[in-house]
Symmetry: C2
Subunit: 329 residues, 2 copies
């Protein structure tokens, strides 16, 4: 049995306008009347219909969040950050998994638009031309997390600098042969930026960049495992490996451990991301910590600011990372 505002009005013996007023307490209502209405609401178990409301007032108090894959280590935390502040401002979130598939991204974008979300948070490595066009012509505020693009609001960390820090740290520890397992080449963030930092740090220190010491990986455990095996196969093995993601780093550790190579004595390993498990594996993984929860929370905060016409200090927020030294280096 579902009741609407009319039923409540009838039961309370008032007009629907008054009911609306007490529900939203938008305008003064005589206490006596309010009481009657409240009682009717209570008795009928009336719940206002948010859909009808949205249609009228033209906002839905919902936002969409597009992530590559919620079941991947990196994303649950940022989604949690988003959801927490969304909840604080009384927004709900539509979760969309894109698998980095451009078609799916567009498809989801369309539904989100049709469902009239108030805003969108987008995470993805690359923004296709098609998607960019949509972004441009639509009037829904969008904020990017973890990636950056043109004039769009975004929250990121400085991946290049972070990678430099790692390499410098390794250099300072006396390592001369530092290998790297990278992300995918065409991925601007994990693939390119992190490698760029590696290369630049090496050059800045006068160490020759050695193609042989770098293996292209993907994102997952297996490619780290394979990458490390490859690097450990060369006659002059690296004494340290910088790995572009924690999950790959754990794969790399595995490869080393299987060969009886001691970590960190014979081989230092540093990862990137500080996923939940990074501090729990044995030996615990040194890594770059990205404030994932904060990225989500701040991204959503930026979105609410846009939504509420508050002034933004800056459309681009760059969060600081931290190097977390544990046992693997």
């Amino acid at each position: 049995m579902k009741f609407n505002i009319k039923d409540v009005a009838k039961k309370a013996g008032v007009s629907i306008s008054t009911v609306s007023r007490v529900v939203n307490n938008s305008k003064a209502v005589r206490p006596k009347t309010e009481e009657k209405v409240l009682k009717a609401i209570e008795e009928l178990g009336y719940k206002p219909n948010a859909i009808a409301r949205s249609l009228k007032i033209k906002n839905t108090k919902t936002i969409g969040i597009m992530v590559p894959d919620i079941s991947n280590q990196f994303f649950p935390e940022v989604v949690r950050g988003v959801e927490d502040v969304a909840n604080m401002y009384e927004y709900n979130i539509f979760l969309c998994n894109t698998d980095l598939d451009q078609e799916k991204e567009i498809q989801y974008f369309d539904v989100l638009e049709e469902k009239q979300v108030d805003g969108i948070i987008f995470m993805g490595n690359i923004i296709s031309e098609e998607l960019e066009k949509r972004f441009k012509i639509c009037d829904i505020p969008i904020v990017l997390i973890g990636a950056d693009y043109g004039e769009m609001p975004s929250v990121t960390t400085d991946n290049v600098q972070a990678s430099k820090d790692v390499v410098n740290y390794l250099l300072n520890k006396g390592h001369k042969r530092i290998g790297m397992i990278t992300g995918k080449e065409k991925d601007p963030v994990v693939g390119q930026a992190r490698k760029q930092g590696y290369v630049e740090a090496l050059e800045a220190s006068g160490v020759d960049y050695n193609e042989e010491l770098v293996a292209e990986g993907g994102y997952r455990f297996k490619s780290g495992y394979e990458g490390a095996k490859k690097l450990l196969d060369i006659k002059e093995k690296p004494t340290a490996i910088f790995v572009a993601s924690d999950e790959m780093a754990i794969g790399a550790m595995r490869a080393a451990l299987e060969r009886g190579i001691a970590i960190p004595e014979e081989l230092a390993i540093v990862g990137f991301d500080n996923i939940h498990m990074a501090g729990k594996v044995y030996p615990a993984l040194s890594t770059i910590g990205q404030p994932m929860y904060e990225m989500g929370a701040i991204g959503m905060r930026v979105l609410t600011k846009i939504l509420h016409d508050e002034t933004l200090d800056s459309k681009k927020v760059v969060l600081s990372y931290s190097f977390i030294e544990r046992e693997s280096s």
Copy 2:
């Protein structure tokens, strides 16, 4: 610039009904007319307003999913399962993190109801009286995942039997002193069911249940770590520990490793859940695999069946688990 069905109608020189018809291709429209309409839609970049549509046809093609915490190991995969099949049936999902907080659960339930979701998927260890009351009086179909309650549709695995299997396996390996780190006592699933299996298997084999050998844990790494330390402190140490969750098991391994106790030679450890990292830690963790993705996918499938009035074979689906023997046992 946002256009509505009226604008399209005007531009195409037809009535809004015809526009509606081609958008939903619900009824025959002369090809010529259709073309005109399509062109108008294209030119204006018209997108139907799903909110208005929902108001009229009384469904929203969205469902809500309540999980304790998306950033916890266990849930992202099941949410992914849910989302995949939701997407297949053209539903979107509202993600709600409850933190197992009963107030938050009710609060979210209220919004979901107000936002007129077509269905709800609920995950949580315990269903409070208040929540149960809401569940009962509302007419939104709800399916439970990972827990079971009264007459409600649910998808679960047999935690008691799984735990028995683990203990029997350990018994067969010759272990006499088998410890356990449990979940929280008042939690029916992780806490009670898994412990029950442990107790029953022991009794069935004529091994005395020994209070001293069990430590109450929580869900996280730390409580596993502490629990194991406690068990390893007693003079007659267990030679095997069954741990009620993988994350705690990894904590337990850590405790053992720190004391130089070899796994599995001196101490066998078996976890529960088969989280993503279980096979990646070193030594790789033996565990009970719950088909998390499937639980989500099937749960959502059940929901769609209810939503579309298809007949359910059974309101209660119990999925089979699998024992995954790896290196820690």
